[in-house]
């Protein structure tokens, strides 16, 4: 075990996988400048700066992946992926199916996402739901340095295109990372805290917020289970359903805008497949349906905070198991 931050965990994952497999290479706008250690070890052929053009970066990754390489591309901030949707969705995501299985696309597209740097709505926009809704892709979004490393290694080894989101609010937070070849399987959630009264499901930087909320709830005698999804596609339905069958209550929390966000998928799935276990409405806490502002206080207020999570959970638990009054209306800050 050592303690490193997520940025360095990514660096370790890249280095280890490039060492293990000579077909792995990395490119992007400035990656060779920013990850000098990789250039030193693997050279400028395998670690490349690119022209400033997200479309061709992603397209080149797709073309290379289909013909024997395993590229990792850094697309910087999530909104810039808007320039590479064609290549990621129509090519990498679909051409395997369209070709009747003749090709596969083992590539990783990385991007930073979320609030924290006051950079405004053209840098800060959580788009993971777009990719979850797009066939042929996998999507991961870790919340701990160990998972950043382990999921990136799994993503590089996966034979499918994986979109890897780094929540910028977590990039420089240190955490323990196991030694050795630490690989975290894509599609498995982690139960960060066990509980019996309410299930808090989240991913990315709102996982620590859920844990804080769970602490607060514990002092009220409410036992919250906290599930970190880690992977959004495939996502660990079984883990969530099992938890809700135990607790009967679900709060889904994420930073992305609520409307048609990934939380809707979780809530809808639970309302369908664990309906009989539900003792209260399923609640989503999420960013408002607005672009995030640069101004620091507004940027913070966009993101569901521990207090709100705890409040929602308390309301759910305090609620009569099945009453005829309308469900409490719980909204994220500012929604």
């Amino acid at each position: 075990m050592k303690t490193i931050n997520a940025h360095d965990a990514i660096g370790e994952a890249l280095a280890e996988e490039m060492r293990r497999d000579s077909t792995v290479l990395a490119f992007g706008e400035g990656i060779a400048t920013k990850r000098k250690a990789l250039v030193d070890e693997f050279g400028r052929r395998r670690v490349r700066n690119t022209p400033l053009a997200e479309g061709i970066i992603a397209g080149t990754a797709a073309g290379a992946a289909a013909t024997g390489l395993r590229p990792v591309v850094d697309l910087l901030f999530a909104p810039f992926m808007a320039f590479s949707m064609e290549e990621i969705v129509n090519s990498a995501g679909k051409l395997r199916f369209i070709s009747g299985g003749q090709f596969s696309f083992p590539l990783v597209a990385m991007a930073m996402t979320g609030a924290g740097w006051s950079v405004g709505a053209q840098h800060n926009h959580n788009l993971e739901a777009w990719f979850v809704h797009s066939p042929g892709l996998k999507v991961v979004m870790p919340s701990t340095p160990a998972d950043f490393k382990g999921l990136l290694k799994a993503a590089i080894r996966d034979d499918n295109p994986v979109v890897f989101f780094s929540d910028i609010g977590l990039l420089y937070v240190p955490g323990e990372v196991p030694d050795g070849d630490h690989v975290v399987p894509i599609g498995k959630a982690a139960t960060r805290r066990a509980g019996t009264d309410v299930t808090l499901v989240s991913y990315g930087k709102t996982v620590p917020s859920c844990l804080k909320a769970a602490d607060a709830l514990a002092s009220d005698g409410i036992s919250a289970e906290v599930i970190d999804l880690r992977s959004l596609k495939p996502w660990d339905e079984e883990a969530v359903l099992a938890s809700v069958r135990k607790t009967g209550r679900l709060v889904v929390v994420h930073e992305a805008s609520r409307t048609a966000g990934f939380g809707a998928e979780v809530a809808a799935t639970v309302a369908e497949k664990a309906f009989d276990a539900l003792r209260a409405p399923v609640v989503r806490l999420a960013g408002p349906d607005a672009p995030p502002a640069a101004s620091y206080p507004l940027e913070q207020a966009f993101v569901p905070q521990p207090d709100l999570i705890a409040l929602s959970a308390r309301q759910l638990v305090g609620r009569a198991a099945r009453v005829s009054s309308p469900a409490p209306v719980l909204v994220a800050a500012g929604a």
Partner: protein
């Protein structure tokens, strides 16, 4: 496929062009009368397909687009399996999942076909990168239209291939139409290839209806790429003789422009040249037509008797 440029006789090029022409004509007629959705034919552009593909070696790779039958047939693909794909049958090259618009044939090196206009351009540098990282000497031929040249990805693709020295033969088939829009409405100037200079890329514009000229130009370009490891942009200047897809009444096409290009039909041009040279007779042409017709009879029989894919195929081949 598999031959080097010097080995092909012009009569063989003619036979390939006729195969393509008849394939497209019969496919269109069959689809349209059967109520199927149409296909995008390359009628009028056979010289571009045959000329370029015949200049490639066996390890070279091809990326193409929605108007791909010529490239596929010139590369030696089975017309029966292409047609089965067009008709959505399970025996098609892509199990019927592609349909007519994005047929790829990995075993022949015809890879990563995209019907997103410009999709082939976005994928080409990556294929070139694989080839170059693995130290292979293959050339990657990427076919795209004058329309695709309007997409931003044309710019990004050319630039990246130039900066990274990727062995890509960009082939712009300038057929002067972009679906229902004439190229004159979409760009100033008649040609795309000169833009290559801005990226530091060599280029040439060739008469796309003269198969021997195309083949020579392509052979030179391929040789240049093998020598330098750098990309090259070849523009084959030609004309789309039929509509954008079938059926299409072409009511928006200037009849005199169309007529002037039909007068320079690539098959008629080569036929006349070969007759003039004395290497081809009317009987020779008839023999070619007969061979082609027989192949296509078999192809149509195969495709129409092939089954549709099973409904379970809905969700297979999504993930590896």
């Amino acid at each position: 496929m598999g031959t080097t440029p010097a080995e092909i006789r012009p009569e063989a090029l003619l036979e390939e062009m006729i195969l393509i022409r008849r394939f497209e004509e019969r496919t269109s007629a069959t689809l349209t009368s059967g109520g199927f959705m149409g296909t995008c034919t390359c009628v009028g552009q056979e010289a571009s397909a045959v000329g370029v593909v015949s200049a490639l070696g066996p390890n070279d790779l091809i990326l193409t687009n929605h108007r791909s039958a010529g490239h596929l047939l010139a590369r030696g693909a089975d017309p029966g399996r292409i047609l089965a794909e067009v008709m959505g049958r399970s025996t098609g090259y892509c199990k019927g999942k592609s349909g007519t618009l994005h047929v790829s044939v990995k075993e022949l090196g015809v890879i990563l076909t995209s019907t997103i206009v410009g999709g082939e351009l976005s994928l080409a540098p990556g294929v070139g990168l694989s080839v170059s990282m693995k130290g292979e000497d293959a050339v990657v031929a990427c076919f795209f239209g004058d329309g695709a040249a309007c997409e931003g990805v044309f710019h990004e693709s050319m630039n990246l291939a130039a900066v990274w020295n990727l062995p890509v033969l960009f082939v712009c088939e300038n057929n002067q139409w972009q679906a229902f829009v004439h190229r004159k409405e979409t760009m100033l100037g008649d040609h795309i290839a000169p833009r290559a200079a801005g990226y530091g890329v060599e280029w040439e514009v060739v008469d796309g209806n003269d198969v021997e000229a195309v083949r020579d130009a392509a052979a030179r370009a391929v040789a240049r790429i093998r020598e330098t490891g750098k990309p090259f942009l070849l523009e084959t200047f030609t004309y789309r003789q039929r509509g954008h897809f079938e059926p299409d009444d072409q009511s928006y096409v200037d009849p005199s422009e169309l007529a002037s290009w039909k007068a320079r039909d690539p098959i008629a041009l080569l036929t006349a040249a070969l007759v003039e040279r004395g290497t081809l007779t009317a009987e020779g042409v008839a023999a070619i037509e007969a061979r082609v017709s027989e192949r296509l009879d078999a192809a149509f029989a195969f495709a129409s008797s092939s089954p549709y894919p099973d409904v379970a195929e809905l969700t297979t081949d999504v993930y590896a």
